[in-house]
Amino acid sequence: MNPRLLPYILILPVTLFLIVFFLYPFALVAQEAFTAGGGLSLQNFREVVGYWKFPISLRNTLLLAAAVVPVQLALALLMATMVNRMNRGRDLVLYVWTIPLGISDLAAGIIWLAIFEQSGFLNSMMGGLGLIDRPANFLSYQHPMIVFTAIALAEIWRATAIMLVILVAGIGLIPKEYYEAAEVFGASPWQRFVKITLPLLRPSLQTALILRVVLAFEIFAVVAALGGTIFPVLMGEIYAYQFDLLNGGAAAALALIVLAISIAFTLIILRVLRVPKGATI
């Protein structure tokens, strides 16, 4: 067999699989989004963008991503640095910290619902401590900030570990000699983190951020469990178009808008965290 052809033959099954089960459905969705009244049209896009809930759900989705992702990034960096310093018990700690990754997002939403709902842990605890007379309904339209905070907390709890795993692997790739050199030449621990760890971690930061930001725009089940219709997000609207309003064209159009936003942010992250040629480890 021609050795130059071998790699292409080996990736052929995966490529075929992706074409059949990803690219083809994607083309169908795109076709549906751009079709209205039997012809090519932007009618579906006009409809979803013009709907009163669109700006609210777009704003909510972006706000949630803006609140959750930076906190997750900071936490994941802190946790990864701590894990990296450990000699004994490192694996155990890493396993415990990544447990939430094994829980589905709907289950995570329900766990936090059990904390925040009217008969939940938070109410019973505050009642038991005598802080409140009767259980409060935190997750109602009267407390939008609490709803937002609950969703953000659940997301942070659930999905920080995916960044952690990527960053731990990335930090492990940075040779110790760089830190020793920085220490000898006078960098404090904080300066070593800012001047050595962060810049050398750029490839891992890119991966972790792209993954988290894209997933943050796709937030759905946690919001459904904790916020219901009080806190509309883009994914929820897609679901409503498809299954409640049976408007497949509008759902497809909104899905493409989310895709466009995701691609835009991916490009921004790639650009901001790019590593100049010749500057890799």
Partner: protein
């Protein structure tokens, strides 16, 4: 101006003792080489002086000031690492200026010092490059320039040339010697390469199993090794050893040859460097086994009284394997060792 004193320094990793009670004084502006095989503790000792490792017991003094409790940056040192540790995400300019930036020196001072040291190391045309665009030799130059830019009291080097190819190593070795002599800093240089040690050092500390076995000038270490280990470690090919039989007061017999020796009763080993023997009418009876013409001279591995013996002879001689030779040792270069303690006996 910096003298380094290492007082009773010991280091253990768990139950393993890497360094036993090291005492060493390095004079101001002296170039001290720590020489030894891998695992002898030389790098650990250097890292203790640098502050990257903490001694289990003992003290380190630099310039009359006790520094073993200070972080590396407060010790007045700079270091060149084995794998260079040139930061990949910074340009050559920012690498050389890294320590100066940490000291918050003004921009024009940083620029002046970076350009001066880059000039010294002949890398001024590379200042805008990243380390990924440099060859190993150029990275090495950046690492040395970064250390020199600090204008340190002491410069510490951990096998800085070991990753370079042979030709480049030779070139950098001579250059390092010149630049460091110029900079008037005290230097500690770790290496396992005895030629490097001989050519660079004012003084060599030969280390073995966590101890300094001899600290002396290169020529002293070569001519008068303190132990059999030093005698065998320094010099290529190494020193020859043959058992000696006592034949009377100050008289010893080595492979049938009578020689004047030390006045002692216990058995001794006779030792001589391969280049310190020559064919003569009277001497050690040898049978040539392997003959290697090396251009400048002839390396003959022979059999003397059942032991292996190497001789470096004039290349004009014709010697074939199986030839019988009589090799006379140069009396002034004969050394004696106690085989029990392996120490030199005068």
């Amino acid at each position: 101006m910096a003298e380094i004193q290492i007082k009773n320094v010991a280091k253990s990793f768990g139950s393993y003792t890497a360094l036993h009670d090291i005492n060493l004084t390095i004079a101001n502006q002296e170039f001290m080489v720590l020489l030894g095989a891998s695992g002898c503790g030389k790098t650990t000792l250097l890292r203790i002086v640098a502050g990257l490792e903490t001694a289990t017991t003992g003290e380190v003094w630099i310039n009359g000031r006790r520094v073993d409790h200070l972080p590396p940056k407060d010790r007045g040192i700079a270091m060149v690492f084995q794998n260079y540790a040139v930061f990949p995400h910074l340009t050559v300019f920012e690498n050389i200026g890294f320590g100066l930036r940490m000291q918050k020196l003004p921009n024009d001072e940083v620029k002046r010092r970076v350009e001066r040291t880059a000039g010294l190391m002949h890398i001024e045309q590379l200042l805008k490059r990243y380390s990924g665009e440099l060859s190993g030799g150029q990275r090495q130059r950046v690492a040395v320039a970064r250390a020199l830019a600090m204008e340190p009291d002491v410069i510490l080097m951990d096998e800085p040339l070991s990753n370079l190819d042979a030709l480049l190593r030779l070139e950098m070795r001579a250059e390092l010697k010149g630049v460091l002599a110029e900079s008037k800093t005290t230097a500690i240089y770790v290496t396992h390469d005895q030629v490097e040690a001989m050519s660079l050092a004012d003084r060599i500390s030969v280390m073995h199993q966590g101890r300094i076995v001899q600290a002396a000038t290169p020529i002293e270490v070569y001519r008068n090794p303190a132990t059999e280990f030093v005698a065998g470690f320094i010099g290529n090919p190494p020193m020859n050893f043959l058992p000696a039989e006592p034949k009377g007061r100050c008289l010893w017999q080595v492979a049938g040859l009578d020689l004047q020796g030390p006045d002692t009763s216990h058995p001794l080993n006779f030792a001589i460097r391969p280049e310190d023997v020559s064919p003569a009418a009277e001497g050690l009876p040898a049978t040539a086994r392997i003959v290697e013409p090396l251009g400048a001279h002839l390396l003959v591995t022979c059999d003397v009284g059942g032991a292996m013996f190497r001789a470096v002879l004039d290349s004009d001689l014709t010697v074939k394997p199986g030839d019988r030779l009589t090799l006379a040792p140069n009396p002034g270069r004969v050394r004696w060792f106690n085989p029990e303690t392996t120490q030199a006996v005068a």
